[in-house]
């Protein structure tokens, strides 16, 4: 069902026909990189749009990663990764606060069991110092004091106090909401298939849309190489490296206070075990090269994750697992971020190969790309009425009883609990649909409100969420999808199929 709908913030569904406005900047990709760049650009006096192939923001790696804000000891000194990681880490707390997304500066430990691993810890310590990151070597005893549930066999560890955790998709969605509220146009379900240039203006064919812009930012994740090729930009290759994850229930008996990494060794990078911003524990990832559409988990990969974590957290209980998923890292063949104007395509700015530490780097990349575009000639003046603040979302379940009563008095839909496991109310779900760049799918509601994240994982609430989406969007129940075009949930009414 296609429809053109113009909301006050200039947000389009799959619109039909040519757009007459020539944008100053078109950002391709609404993952964490594109979203934070769009948010930064939306503060300026520029005509801005975001073009996204999927039905919602944060559809790729952004919604399937560990949510770690890295300290910066891992990236090679002198690399773009190191520079963006360290700067991004410094900017993250403020960015999260402005966007009203919870950020926890919990720190991280890299655990070593033997000589080889202790050597690699020492290497990371040196790298950290070179990158200007506060890192300290700690003993096994100190590790167990900080984290009593970890293995007795841990000999020593690297402790990085500036590391943290944030919800990566919540951050991206908040950034998109901020950008849309500041006037950015957003085109979803719009895969870019052609880019041409005439008289200093790019013409982008994206789904049913034709978008024109003076500058283009390529933040297209695993497809950034193909997008660059379409524009006649730099030639590089992006390989998709899949990482599988296991998520444990909040009540899981084994918890840590900070992020735990296994030391890198001959065997590989080592899996991590970390609290998430939502209060769960996450384990993973694996690392295997695969196709750009292959986000399938595998039996072997999931077992490898559990075995990897069991090494330093022996008590983990697979009966507490509530979900598994996989994301694709965009690995460039240059083994570093590729950020900058393309030499062969003036005005075309690549933001490619953004694998880890991409989430951490996002605020810094946004700052860097915005400055690059200002140097290239976009208007660097602040836009009147633009704001860096995304309106805070009030979570009923976290409010005091007094505040809960006030909310109910304002809107009786706060008294109607829809997600029984997480206590998310109808009012919050309705708001998530009507905010700028709001939810239009079941997953869209899930990522914005945590509905369906709990023990029953949507078993009870999905029909009710669909009822609310259908009502609020004026659609039939069978039009509601899981995550956009093609992901239909209901095939039709009963009795239709019976002769």
């Amino acid at each position: 069902m296609s429809r053109t709908r113009f909301s006050w913030c200039g947000f389009f569904y799959c619109g039909k026909g040519k757009r007459l406005m020539i944008y100053d900047v078109a950002v391709i990709g609404a993952g964490i990189s594109g979203a934070m760049i769009a948010r930064e650009l939306s503060q300026l006096n520029v005509r801005l749009c975001v073009i996204e192939a999927a039905g919602d923001a944060a559809a790729g790696a952004t919604r399937a990663n560990s949510g770690i804000v890295h300290a910066g000891y891992d990236a090679l000194p002198g690399s773009m990764k190191a520079r963006m990681n360290v700067r991004g880490n410094a900017l993250m707390e403020k960015a999260a606060a402005e966007l009203h997304v919870p950020y926890d500066n919990c720190g991280s430990l890299v655990a070593a069991f033997d000589d080889e691993e202790e050597k690699s810890i020492d290497e990371l310590l040196n790298r950290g110092k070179e990158n200007g990151v506060p890192v300290v070597k700690t003993s096994g005893a100190e590790v167990r004091k900080r984290e009593p549930q970890l293995s007795d066999n841990i000999r020593c560890a690297l402790w990085a106090p500036t590391a943290g955790i944030v919800s990566p998709f919540e951050l991206a969605l908040a950034a998109m909401e901020n950008a849309a509220a500041n006037g950015a146009d957003v085109f979803f379900d719009s895969r870019v298939t052609a880019i041409s240039k005439k008289d200093d203006v790019f013409s982008i064919t994206a789904g049913a849309n034709s978008v024109q812009a003076r500058f283009v930012v390529n933040a297209a994740g695993v497809y950034a190489d193909e997008i660059s090729r379409l524009a006649g930009g730099d030639a590089f290759t992006i390989n998709a490296r899949r990482g599988e994850y296991v998520l444990f229930d909040k009540s899981h008996s084994v918890r840590t206070n900070c992020v735990i990494f296994g030391a890198p060794s001959e065997k590989g990078k080592g899996v991590l075990f970390s609290p998430t911003a939502h209060g769960n524990m996450i384990a993973g990832p694996t690392a295997e090269f695969t196709g750009k559409e292959d986000t399938a988990t595998t039996r072997e990969g999931l077992e490898a994750v559990l075995n990897g974590v069991r090494r330093y957290a022996p008590g983990i209980d697979r009966r507490s697992v509530i979900t598994v998923f996989a994301g694709l890292r965009a690995m460039s063949d240059r083994h570093d971020f590729i950020i900058g104007e393309s030499k062969t395509a003036p005005g075309f700015v690549n933001v490619a190969g953004i694998e880890s530490p991409g989430l951490t780097a996002a605020p810094a990349i946004a700052e860097y790309v915005t400055q690059t575009l200002i140097n290239l000639g976009i208007n660097g003046m602040k836009k009147k009425d633009a704001t860096r603040i995304r309106k805070p979302i009030e979570v009923f379940a976290h409010a005091t009883p007094e505040r809960q009563c006030e909310l109910i008095a304002q809107d009786t839909r706060y008294a109607n609990v829809i997600c029984r496991c997480e206590h998310v109310t109808e009012a919050e779900i309705v708001q998530s649909i009507h905010r700028p760049c709001g939810a239009r799918t079941v997953d869209g509601v899930k990522l914005r409100t945590s509905t369906g994240f709990g023990r029953c994982h949507g078993g009870f609430c999905m029909p009710r969420v669909m009822d609310i989406l259908a009502r609020e969007l004026g659609q039939d129940l069978s039009d509601i999808t899981k995550s956009g075009k093609g992901s239909w949930i209901l095939s039709g009414r009963t009795k239709e199929a019976v002769e």
Binding site: A415, L490, E496
Partner: protein, 411 residues
């Protein structure tokens, strides 16, 4: 608000408990239900077969539930629908939120927990593959078909031969879907024999025992699943993998008693049943807090839920009167071949008791036995016992002289 007895949940367990509490002297009985209607999960179980024992009739789920809902209303029991219990304090104060009540507290003299259970999800199974639309639990599918009037798909594979999976195999077929097969990890089905006959055999739907789904395929919507045979340990056997095209995967892979509220009150839990430890009066480890129905153990027949709930409601009313004398109590234990026994504790009160239990494997031509103080106090000959069908034994109060051990003896 104050109440003599507060019942959490208005499914068959909650309603029967509320009625029993009222009929045994509790004046102000409140039932709190998060759905808009009374009846619980029975409202979506439109097939018949409910009430064979309690009413001597074969009712549909909604009909069975209506008998109790009507009686509850006739007895002037306060029913708060679309109201959710957020928390219960150890001092028996419930915090609830609902459109009619707003946010408020209920101080209860006694509480009956009847929250029922939830279904195990695909993620909890660590089912590998893609995560497209079209993977849902059988109960959610049942809600779409029977309450909303929509079909969740056309070409269906069902994983798990528990009763809900079997019922939905038939239901989807009756609505014109093509149910290709039902897969069961174990070498025996988890559902009632009559359901295998009436839902699979009668419709020519193949049941593949010792099989499972090892991967889901499809980017936006399910396109197929890879199935495989498994060995005795449940490990897929290499070389038996088979791709089955379908657009829907229904899961009937386990029910888990809902006990967030119980845990919040520090009620002692049984790790095997997933429910609270209860005595023969359905009282939990917290005095004045009782539990019944699927929240205590996953039942097969609602008739036994009703019986259990009536005991709980009666005991809740007696608790208010402090009519229950302090009696000595003994533990029950699961012996050979038994997975768990409910109730976990027995009170010497002069009344005969019924022990409910499940076996841990399939036993043919066997005898279920209860022993206390070294003597056999009850036995029942059975042609077959399976984990999917709950068993029971009646014992006399005077025979309880120590722990009661239930076991299976093979011929």
């Amino acid at each position: 608000m104050k109440a003599d007895v507060a019942v959490v949940g208005a499914g068959p367990a909650g309603l029967a408990a509320a009625i029993a509490a009222k009929e045994n002297g509790a004046e102000h009985v409140v039932v709190i239900e998060r759905e808009a209607h009374l009846g619980g999960i029975l409202n979506q179980c439109i097939h018949n077969g409910f009430g064979l024992h309690v009413f001597g009739e074969e009712l549909t789920g909604p009909e069975y539930a209506a008998r109790f809902a009507d009686k509850a209303l006739a007895l002037d029991i306060t029913c708060l629908t679309q109201t959710m219990v957020l928390d219960i304090s150890p001092s028996r104060v419930l915090t609830v939120v609902g459109r009619d009540t707003g946010l408020c507290t209920i101080e209860a003299g006694a509480i009956v927990l009847a929250m029922g259970c939830r279904e195990r999800s695909a993620g909890a199974l660590m089912l590998a593959g893609d995560r497209p639309a079209g993977v849902l639990t059988a109960g959610t599918a049942q809600r779409f078909v029977n309450i909303e009037g929509y079909m969740p798909g056309r070409e269906v594979v069902i994983l798990g031969s528990g009763d809900i999976g079997l019922i939905m195999a038939r239901r989807m077929t009756l609505e014109g879907a093509h149910v290709k097969m039902v897969l069961e990890l174990m070498p025996y089905s988890g559902g009632l024999t009559r359901n295998i006959v009436q839902c699979l055999d009668d419709y020519g739907i193949p049941l593949k025992l010792s099989h499972t789904v090892i991967a889901i395929h499809g980017r936006q919507r399910v396109e197929g699943v890879t199935v495989a045979a498994v060995d005795q340990k449940g490990v897929p056997v290499k070389g038996t993998e088979e791709y089955v095209a379908c657009d829907t995967l229904l899961l009937s892979v386990g029910l888990i008693p809902e006990n967030e509220l119980s845990r919040g009150m520090d009620v002692k839990m049984d790790a095997v049943t997933g429910g609270p430890v209860v005595d023969s009066h359905m009282q939990t480890s917290v005095p004045g807090v009782f539990a019944c129905g699927n929240a205590v153990q996953v039942h097969d027949l609602v008739d036994f839920v009703t019986e259990e709930a009536q005991r709980a409601g009666k005991a809740a009313a007696e608790f208010l009167r402090e009519a229950a004398e302090t009696a000595s109590d003994y533990a029950t234990r699961a012996g050979y071949g038994i997975r768990y026994v409910v109730p976990q504790r027995l009170r010497k009160d002069g009344e005969k008791k019924t022990l409910f239990f499940r076996v841990s494997d399939v036993f043919k031509d066997c005898t279920t036995v209860a022993r206390s103080g070294g003597k056999v106090i009850a036995r029942k000959k059975r042609t077959i016992c399976t984990p999917g069908e709950m068993e029971s034994l009646c014992i006399a109060d005077e025979d309880i002289v120590g722990s009661v051990v239930v076991s299976v003896e093979e011929a």
